[in-house]
Symmetry: C2
Subunit: 441 residues, 2 copies
Amino acid sequence: MSLDFFFYPKSVAVFGSFKKGAIAYEILRNIVEGGFEGKIIPVNPKGGRVEVAGRTFRIREKLEEPVDTAIIAIPAKFVPSLIDEIGPLIRGAVVISAGFSEVGNEELEREMVEKAKKHGVRVIGPNCAGIFGVHGKFFGSFEVRVNPGGLALISQSGAFGGAALAMGNDEGIGFSAFVSYGNASDLNESDFLEYFADDENTKAIALYIEGVKEGRRFLKALRYASERKPVIILKAGKSESGAKAAASHTGSLAGSYEIYRAAFKQAGAIEVEEMEELFDAAKAFEMYPRAGKRIAVITNSGGPGVLATDKLEKLGLEIAKLSDETVKELRSFLPPQCSTRNPVDLIADADYERYKRTIEVVCKDENVDALLVICVPPIFIPSEEIAKAVIEAKCDKPVVVNFMAGELVRGGVKLLEENGIKNFPTPERAAKALRWLALRG
Amino acid sequence: MSLDFFFYPKSVAVFGSFKKGAIAYEILRNIVEGGFEGKIIPVNPKGGRVEVAGRTFRIREKLEEPVDTAIIAIPAKFVPSLIDEIGPLIRGAVVISAGFSEVGNEELEREMVEKAKKHGVRVIGPNCAGIFGVHGKFFGSFEVRVNPGGLALISQSGAFGGAALAMGNDEGIGFSAFVSYGNASDLNESDFLEYFADDENTKAIALYIEGVKEGRRFLKALRYASERKPVIILKAGKSESGAKAAASHTGSLAGSYEIYRAAFKQAGAIEVEEMEELFDAAKAFEMYPRAGKRIAVITNSGGPGVLATDKLEKLGLEIAKLSDETVKELRSFLPPQCSTRNPVDLIADADYERYKRTIEVVCKDENVDALLVICVPPIFIPSEEIAKAVIEAKCDKPVVVNFMAGELVRGGVKLLEENGIKNFPTPERAAKALRWLALRG
């Protein structure tokens, strides 16, 4: 089923209060500031005008023309009748409003869904933070806007979603879409998995769930999506206390974690343990769909090279044995103090040429599936120079990069990011990224 | 043994080239820009002048007056005779120069140490990145300067040290000292452990090692230090390939990791697995010496609260059972939608008053040893307001904070840091911080 009318809408209506700071106002502001090029219609029975980002909108007293999507942030009790009223004019409704099943008002939620069904309207929410269709410049949520890219983020928790988007911005993640689906009264995680599996702007899917409603359907949707692109899952409510907390939070039964874990694995999804790992995996999969497990480490500093090697081996990856030919070729141009074993240690004064040539030589070694390139720039070599070497080296295998740290590498990391290469801030996080790539290798 | 002449020197001489970009120049620049208040003497046989940070120094042709510490960055082969010459005038020498045992020149290193011993001079290095005594405003290294605080960082690897200092700046760590000890020709990790164990500005010690030279002495020093303050250890060269790489890098035999691991545990040190964990542990111990294991989680967002709970339980901590009295008191002022179980969910619109009062009520519960406070600010509540609640809440138990994320909490995190409260960027990292505190609890 296509949900394009949600994620690539041509027109949108927003229902609620347009006083500054109110939810509907903030969503309208995000849509306008985000550069949405379709029709935008604010609706409130009181009418009036609202100014947003230098533009003035007339607030309609009611919706009188068809739109793809309605975003609804009015008190819960009025939602079913509104949907009944505008049903003939809309294809999808994103219900931000809280006060439904999550606080015991199951009946109100059922009524809302019935009205929607009557008109063939699909519903996201209620009790959700909204949606982004980033490539359509549609930011239908009050959460912070993000840069376009390959990650579709599906979050059961609105707050998790909001935090994740802001964190994604800091981590240099690019997003294709975001959906916070709240109570999942109609559309749920399975629908979104299926949709993003076929969305051409989405390279990887990240899913935060506490529990799912339809186990079998979820497994099927997860398998469908995982066959097409990497699906990264962070499951909350794994521990006894966590499961209880999740039950009181989303009302969903978290169920036995062991069952979930087995299902994720069976479906070919990538389960991560921590929020940070969700992003590291997403960064890796935004760059590469997969990688083999024989890794070559190239470094200008021994210690970090050893840390990477330790972690790679611990994670079950292999420290590639470089061929005699590769070693010989490296020996031909590297200073004698450099180590031509794997990890290849280019020592502190490694410059553009030494990095570039080494990456190219190691890359064509048949024993090597992927490269981990580490750089701790010494004071006399700017990080930009080494970034340039990584960018310009001819290599058709996955290259995962760890430049350290902070102000020492700010310039180099920026240059890498501008060229689509995401930096992992520690050797261990870079090693983990390679492991996730290898899980699909 | 006091090493105050290294870390709180009254006077220092720097030997090497004072051309811009040269190692000795960069060290001189760091010392001057860092605000060192003692005497600073640049020395080079060619004499001349050097301008640094608006000050002009006359370069002495030789050292003719006593100084506490000499920092030496001249070609390796001249180091032994220089030390013999200036031995009577100095107490300590920091030998930056490389080209000693790490490249097979054991004899030259032995000669250097003999000359030093003859004059009762102690040596740090050679082949090292230098030292910082941060509270004495002494930045005797070319690495990036850091803020004063409680962490003493001891690093066998210079590059690791440099990366760690820059990362520490980004993570809001305060440092008491830094020492990169390179080949450990004279002073080694054990000496520094003993010294910082008794240094009153040091609250916690972080140690990066690949291998140690004197196993028994190390164990004794580690126990001595661990009895006095937290010692956090990151051991590199744990895997087979990692150990081989370490051997070729520092020349130290990494030895069996199992033996190290047992030794760390026996001595009461905190072993971490990853570079990032080293900092998270350091952040925790800069704030608190220890904590019990019964944790109360307070959050305004369900999802992140569940993630924290999962991680705490997985790490063997306890989700504290709040007393009936606490629950009753919380019920008296919290809105009915809030959860008064642990995790305590204050829901999205939690403001200053709700956070502050909840922290205070939970803090005085006898079943609670420490608090984990999570905040994902909704658009209508600035993160500064919640930061203020955390700062102003009266609580005499450890409070570990996770504000998320990025731009959403920039202001609040800044305010927290100005008040000595370090933020952990994810619920899981905050949970791990509590575990390290509990390991000494």
